[in-house]
Symmetry: C2
Subunit: 563 residues, 2 copies
């Protein structure tokens, strides 16, 4: 493999980080090169808090130039959940011009080889990292996440997931050597000798279909996995969350061009209001890879119709927490209250159904009845969000009116154990801020089933009364099998119950968090260690990140010669 004209310095600069990522993926220990603390930025070329805000403000109301081939107009489709005017205009692409230009960039990118490609990807991530504060505002004002969450989940955590994908992609490509000598003995005759060369080649155009709530976190794994394996990546952002990915595309294009590669390896396909280009794009023959996060309906459509492409989807699911027993009742309540409240439950990983035995839950202070547990959880949420400033910092804003409507409708679904409260955000009076609602349902009643077996995205949880731990286990199995789940949580001190819950998760393929009572939450995963989704139940056909996520984004071509 030959590195591009200027890739050697990038390899030198980033090789140690790549090696550490590879090592951590093997050990699954904790590690991240991307700081979580806002004050860690502002030195060594990174933007400080003030500089990041300034950079973000400078983007508002302007044209976001990208210098892409085939730009045939401009579109502005974003509206901040915090009520500020975005007004950023993005280039609209003539795909019949843009796509061929992207494909033309492939041969030189292939020739660069896996190590140079990884180094270029790491440089892109490093520059994104340096602008974490700018991204924080961009993510905040498109997703509705609170600032601190937007900074962490949209910044370092997303960058971690991107780096993880690059490391997996690199590892996968170098499993086969560049060259090999093959010599087969032939008894008394001369051996048969061949010289073989192996080259990783990208599949073709890769399409990233971005989501509204986590544009970078859910977008980076697919983007970087495809780019690192030799594919040009066309980024089709959600119309309400363009800016974080447009910034990403701009940085990627800059890094590529600076180091002698074709910037068209990464391009943006922003769409006009209501244009809906995803279906057409996804079934174009040039598109060979698709990464998608969003609704089950469209994800299923992609899996069934975009059969010319490798399709990686993260869709909806119904996440369950089984509450059987605990030896840290207060810790459990606090942990669950935080999980339900963070980003107003607008995460694919937020628990929805809390399965609680009718007969009560064993605790270190004796048995608590179903009503007590639900009441105490409502109390814990109320306490966590009792202070408006703290609540605003945790809840963020409601991302779209549909979520608000679901909160309002929740009261008609059952007995409300905790009503949702509307808050004002003094910094952003235009934001819709809502606390979680908890509704009690009787798991034995068929009419309740339809409610708790449907995904109700947003801060709506169901406290479902079940007859026993065994019924909880059976309902958990049915929920994962039929509806899928990104996460499963459980609290139990009983070994047999724990074993049964583990068995369900192993058999139905769901990621399980057991007895979390401290500062780790069921809805959060850490790159290099935790898998996000399993890829084995209806909620997603891929996990972030594993070998399967990268191995089919390229193929290996062999050239053999008589030696």
């Amino acid at each position: 493999m030959t590195a591009g004209p200027n890739a050697a310095e990038l390899i030198e600069k980033h090789r140690a980080t790549l090696d550490q990522a590879i090592e951590t993926i093997r050990s699954r220990a904790y590690w991240s090169p991307h700081p979580e603390h806002p004050k860690a930025y502002g030195e060594n070329g990174s933007l400080s808090a003030a500089e990041g805000k300034e950079a973000f403000d400078a983007l508002l109301g302007g044209r976001f130039e990208l210098d892409q081939p085939g730009t045939d107009g401009w579109s502005a489709t974003e509206s901040s959940p915090y009520g500020i005017t975005m007004g950023v205009e993005y280039p609209h692409a003539d795909l019949d011009v843009l796509l061929p230009a992207m494909r033309a960039a492939m041969p030189a990118w292939r020739e660069a080889g896996p190590e140079a490609r990884a180094a270029v990807c790491l440089e892109i991530l490093a520059r994104i990292s340096a602008r974490t504060h700018e991204f924080a505002h961009a993510v905040m004002h498109t997703s509705g996440q609170a600032f601190m969450m937007a900074l962490q989940a949209g910044g370092p955590h997303a960058q971690d997931r991107g780096l993880e994908a690059v490391a997996y992609a690199y590892m996968e490509q170098v499993r086969v050597p560049d060259a090999a000598d093959w010599s087969k003995p032939q008894g008394k005759r001369d051996p048969l000798n061949l010289r073989k060369h192996f080259t990783a080649v990208g599949r073709g155009l890769s399409l990233l279909i971005g989501c509204n709530t986590f544009p970078t976190w859910n977008g980076y794994p697919g983007l970087f996995a495809s780019l690192a394996t030799g594919n040009p990546v066309l980024v089709k952002p959600h119309p309400r969350a363009v800016l974080p990915l447009a910034l990403t595309v701009r940085i990627a294009r800059e890094v590529l061009a600076e180091h002698g590669f074709d910037p068209n390896l990464v391009a943006l396909a922003a769409e006009r209001e209501g244009e809906g280009i995803a279906k057409d794009l996804a079934t174009r023959p040039e598109v060979r890879i698709i990464d998608y996060t969003g609704s089950t309906e469209f994800g299923d459509w992609l899996e069934q119709h975009a059969t010319q492409a490798q399709v990686y989807t993260e869709k909806a699911g119904v996440n369950t927490v089984v509450i059987d027993s605990t030896d840290d009742y207060k810790g459990m309540l606090g942990n669950l209250a935080f999980s339900l409240s963070l980003y107003s439950g607008q995460m694919c990983t937020t628990p929805q159904n809390l399965l609680i035995p009718r007969g009560g839950v064993g605790t270190e202070d004796g048995e608590k009845s179903f009503d007590e547990v639900v009441g105490d959880l409502a109390g814990a949420v109320g306490k966590l969000l009792g202070d408006d400033a703290r609540a605003n910092a945790l809840l963020g804003a409601i991302v779209n009116p549909q979520v608000g409507q679901r909160i309002d409708a929740a009261g008609s679904l059952g007995e409300v154990a905790l009503p949702s409260r509307s808050l004002t955000n003094p910094d952003f009076p235009g934001a819709t801020v809502r606390t979680p609602v908890i509704v009690k349902l009787d798991g034995g009643k068929p009419e309740a089933e339809e409610t708790y077996l449907s995904e109700c995205f947003g801060p709506v949880s169901f406290a479902v009364a079940v007859d026993s731990a065994d019924e909880a286990v059976a309902l958990l199995r049915r929920t994962v099998r039929e509806k899928g789940a990104m996460t499963v949580g459980a609290y139990t001190t009983a070994e047999d119950v724990e074993r049964k819950i583990e068995d369900v998760c192993l058999e139905e393929c769901a990621q399980l968090s057991l007895n979390l009572t401290g500062g780790v939450y069921v809805n959060q995963t850490a790159a290099f260690s935790d898998f996000h989704g399993s890829g084995g139940n209806p909620a997603a056909n891929a996990a972030l990140c594993d070998g399967a996520f990268v191995s089919n984004r390229f193929r290996t071509v062999e050239v053999r010669r008589q030696a």
Copy 2:
């Protein structure tokens, strides 16, 4: 991971072989634990030539008992291309009984862990290896391969590909550790500590749809990849090639049962004449993985309709050899003559189109005209097959009447440079034995295009006259892109031509053999070193064998607990 009750001894027995396979996959050097020479068998518990023949004869005309749940009848659908009566009756399965029994076997197989599963697979392969002579007759009389080829390709080479798949599957599963401790610093506060466990879990029922011509070679990779990753495997053989896979299923069931596992992890679904169960089977929701070798039509159908499953296909293609120039004219002719003749060209890897510049081919003895080259190649084939005994040993039998019809029709497609000859096999007077036919076509004539751009499976090759090396390169590109190719061959002494051909193969994703003049042929690949197919052109969506072939046959489930 806990090994099954009797898996420890198997791990002890096979661990070194597994390690050597893993090491060879990394180095891509030559290695095989399965001897190619017929006389290597007969000791250490393996069947000698006579014992293998005897074992095969004992199966004819009898019921092939498998003791599977849900057997509801018997079916016999085989007829030997050599004309002998097979008459073997196989169990016909009630799938509504058999499939649930297979799925019920999954939990214990999952719990056994990757190493025990690999060891069980290696024991199955070892017992198959010991019965290589028996398999040779079974493969010969279902595929029509000549005995020596049936022994080698159906025996050790198929076993190598099975072992390769097991090694890949094992490596992929152990990339994630069984357990990990994760500790995230929290400044002055205590770190967050989690204990994590990771388990590889199979996707579900795996379906192998076997083919007529290479039942074991093309069947073993998928069968063993799925079994080693925790999935039960239902084997649906081609109705004309049941015996080699039925023997495989029987041995697998014996090994599983002997070592405390459920034999229903591997089962046979033989079909009745004309029953055509593949479509129904392939779209059942329980079926999560499908391996298929056969027609493009049905392969495309599977890719488009069996969207509930991971589908791995090997379909048809049009294989090309570009003949530009050579410094070993005789070696080239001999090599090509063998490639065209082996198994009467009934291989997915046999060259079909020989692209030869109209202006001639440079050789060490000066320029040879198009007609000279075609004539000399015809002469080389004629010489190779001049002796009937030798020809019979190389050609085998025509697998079905359609191939014979294509040979007979070839004369009408263009000027015949080498007519096909019919031979008699003195040992099997019922066999149809045919030598290859070579037809000259003018690559510039549109009416010829339809002929050479369609797959003509069997011993029919087209010597296509092209204007120049550049035109050959362009036609090669178009052929691979539109029709797919399992193999590409080329002869050239010109660096620029070589580079252009390499570029086409890298860009269109095809495996290239350059200037083969000795005992390695374009239509043969070696496990652990060569990739069979690329998975990146229309001939196949997977390669044998790489990470992508195994990584999505299982998922990893994580259970994390506060530490």
